[in-house]
Amino acid sequence: MQYLLLLHANEQSFAQMTPDQQQQGMAAYMAYTEALVKAGVYKGSNRLRPVSSTTTVRMVDGKAQVLDGPFIDTKEQLGGYFMIDVPDLDAALSWAARCPGASHGVVEVRPIWDMGQQRAAA
């Protein structure tokens, strides 16, 4: 089954780190990605730019309403994701627990609706 690990964390705390600490943090993510690839479960990942750069769009009465900022304003922001392919939720949870994001934020584990494929693979 494929799962999306959604990494929520406080962006400010990263910005407030010293360059050294930031580098260490990045290295931890590199090592984690490496481990996912080695295990053959890695499907993709991306780091997102800060919410200050985000824009929200919704159609209201047939017109696109464009707003500055995230859909939900929270203390912790969606900052990136990993997509993994593992046999079951327990495997996904154990990868989520190893993710550096679980130590400085929260990792949400979301199964991907793969339009039939994941049923066949199950």
């Binding site: 939720l89 327990d90 949870l93 039939g116 049923r119």
Partner: protein
């Protein structure tokens, strides 16, 4: 054969199989697909088919295998009928291959794996016990709802959602590995304990749904202990429930009045259950890995021993509660420990050992806290304060029999029995 007689035999055979093997069949059908709802549906259709087929053709020698084969065929029919996405043909193929397997004579027991799935950390904690009762024992939502104070519709919805979660989130129906087992086992033990306790909250046993639930909880505990005979906490839980169950008939008078432990008629105790509980506890403790349920069973064992022999074992009881507090951090345990201390060192020491309601505001809403305070204050001669505390205790109690007991208990002559107001008299 007389058709009526055949129908009767078919029905009683089907009922016996349902009682014996329902959970086993559902677990086996769902273990690969993780689709509990479909497994239940297929099985209930298989039972319906059996009631038509068996009176005509006679009951099969191995009714479980017959039902399993029928249920698998139903699953394939449903699968075809639903016209799901074409990519799902792989699953269909799997189902068809499984249906062609030679008849199984001994169905592998996947119920333990199913219990772990029901108590998975990603399943809402409050629905774990109901889910286990339904999937492993086949109880319907109405009966479970009645015991958990929810409407059949609300309970049904919760159960459906939980089963969807198992399938859609990919919760494995599997016994966790060695390293995960201790954590995950706790959730299973707690769910079984919750199932039993819901049954226990109708102490008079007037509400049939609840009384049965205590029995079903006991059944689950027995099943768990038989499937995990090397896990001391599984044995400890069964020992605890047996102790509680053994005094069921003694804890109420025929008029439904509450009888505290020390005043119970021991002839009404089920001494066989007590002996079984004691043997289990000894086996568990010999494994040298203490846990919450073993300690709670040990407390019960000590109470029973005191009542039977008159041995003043309150120091031992206080120590058990102290150990239990180390494990659980529960203020409720401290209340019981304080009452035990009062038996050894006097009411003043007991009052000092009571947890502080300021430190834990939950205590102000907890009946046993006020009842314990009242009792200790009365023993010190502080009758006004004792009466006040007793009033609050009465106001907080849900069970009318316990309420009546507290009302009749006059703080001037407080009956000293530390277990009088705890959940397992």
């Amino acid at each position: 054969m007389d058709p009526n007689q055949g129908g009767e035999l078919a029905r009683s055979t089907a009922e016996a199989v349902a009682r014996r093997s329902y959970g086993k069949l559902v677990a086996f059908l769902a273990v690969r697909t993780r689709d509990v709802s479909s497994a239940e549906d297929a099985l209930s259709e298989a039972f319906a088919a059996a009631l038509v087929d068996w009176p005509k053709n006679g009951c099969p020698i191995n009714p479980e295998a017959w039902l399993l084969t029928a249920a698998r065929r139903k699953s394939i029919d449903v699968f075809r009928g639903a016209q799901r996405h074409e990519l799902a043909t792989a699953e269909l193929l799997q189902l068809e291959l499984a249906a062609r397997e030679p008849e199984v004579h001994e169905i592998p027991d996947e119920r333990l794996a199913m219990m772990f799935a029901c108590a998975h950390p990603s399943i809402d904690a409050v629905v774990r016990a109901p889910l286990m009762l339904q999937v492993v024992l086949g109880l319907d939502a109405g009966r479970i709802g009645a015991a958990f104070l929810a409407s059949p519709a609300a309970m049904g919805k919760r159960l459906v959602r939980a089963k969807e979660k198992i399938r859609e989130a990919g919760i494995p129906i599997r016994v966790p590995g060695r390293e995960e087992l201790p954590d995950r086992l706790d959730a299973v033990l707690n769910a079984i304990y919750a199932a039993f306790s819901e049954g226990w909250t109708d102490p008079a046993g007037l509400d049939a749904a609840r009384r049965d639930l205590a029995e079903e909880g006991l059944f689950l505990a027995r099943l768990l202990a038989s499937l995990l005979p090397e896990e001391p906490e599984a044995l400890g839980l069964l020992a605890l429930l047996l102790h509680a169950e053994s005094r069921r008939r003694a804890r109420r008078t025929s008029a439904g009045e509450f009888v505290p432990l020390a005043m119970q008629d021991q002839i009404l105790w089920d001494h066989e259950q007590i002996a079984e509980g004691e043997a289990l506890l000894r086996r568990a403790i010999a494994m040298d890995h203490i846990g919450r349920f073993q300690l709670e069973a040990a407390v019960q064992s000590a109470h029973v021993d005191r009542c039977r022999t008159g041995a003043r074992n309150w120091t031992h009881v206080a120590e058990l509660y102290a150990a239990l507090f180390q494990l659980t951090g529960s203020p409720v345990v401290l209340i019981n420990r304080a009452l035990a201390i009062a038996e050894v060192e006097g009411a003043a020491a007991g009052l000092r050992a009571l947890p502080d309601e300021q430190a834990d505001p939950r205590l102000t809403q907890y009946q046993p806290y006020w009842a314990a305070r009242s009792e200790l204050l009365a023993r010190q001669g502080a009758f006004d304060e004792a009466r006040q505390a007793n009033e609050i205790a009465i106001g907080l109690e849900r069970d009318p029999a316990v309420r009546a007991f507290l009302e009749h208990r006059r703080p001037e002559h407080a009956e000293s029995d530390s277990n009088a107001v705890s959940p397992h008299p």
